[in-house]
Symmetry: C2
Subunit: 83 residues, 2 copies
């Protein structure tokens, strides 16, 4: 299953609780689109959120975020991962 990294902007000053709530809203419906969000990271200063997921397509990732009320600004299919 392909992996995706999506980027949200505009979360300036967001808290850990707010990120957790947004992430849980995604996770509650993700299975309906075949998506799984693995991890998410927030930079509260710049307002960027990065979400790592596995999904059938970028459209599926975006659909979950849209349904949860926080569409992503960018969705990247990250076909290569190194450790």
């Amino acid at each position: 299953m392909p992996k995706f990294m999506d980027v949200h902007r505009g979360f300036v000053g967001a808290t850990a609780e707010q990120l957790q709530a947004a992430h849980e809203a995604d996770q509650k419906i993700e299975a309906e689109e075949g998506v799984h969000f693995e991890r998410a990271w927030l930079d509260p200063e710049s307002g960027h959120v990065f979400c790592l997921s596995t999904a059938p397509s970028a459209e599926a990732v975006q659909k979950v975020h849209e349904r949860a009320g926080h569409p992503a600004d960018e969705v990247h299919r990250v076909d290569v991962e190194v450790v």
Copy 2:
């Protein structure tokens, strides 16, 4: 130790081997700046690379990338992470 997500643009068409080589170039010198790069992801279509690290500062992350010859376009301190 704080975590960071940095973003590079311009890797359009890069290969897994090229990402691996860039990542290894970082890892070879990272300890000298107190940085550890955990994982990196490449979207070869848009040319974005995302690197997750632990480091003492954003400047230290950027210093490793600069010394390795591929400065980041953005370095974000991601103080919040959810799973």
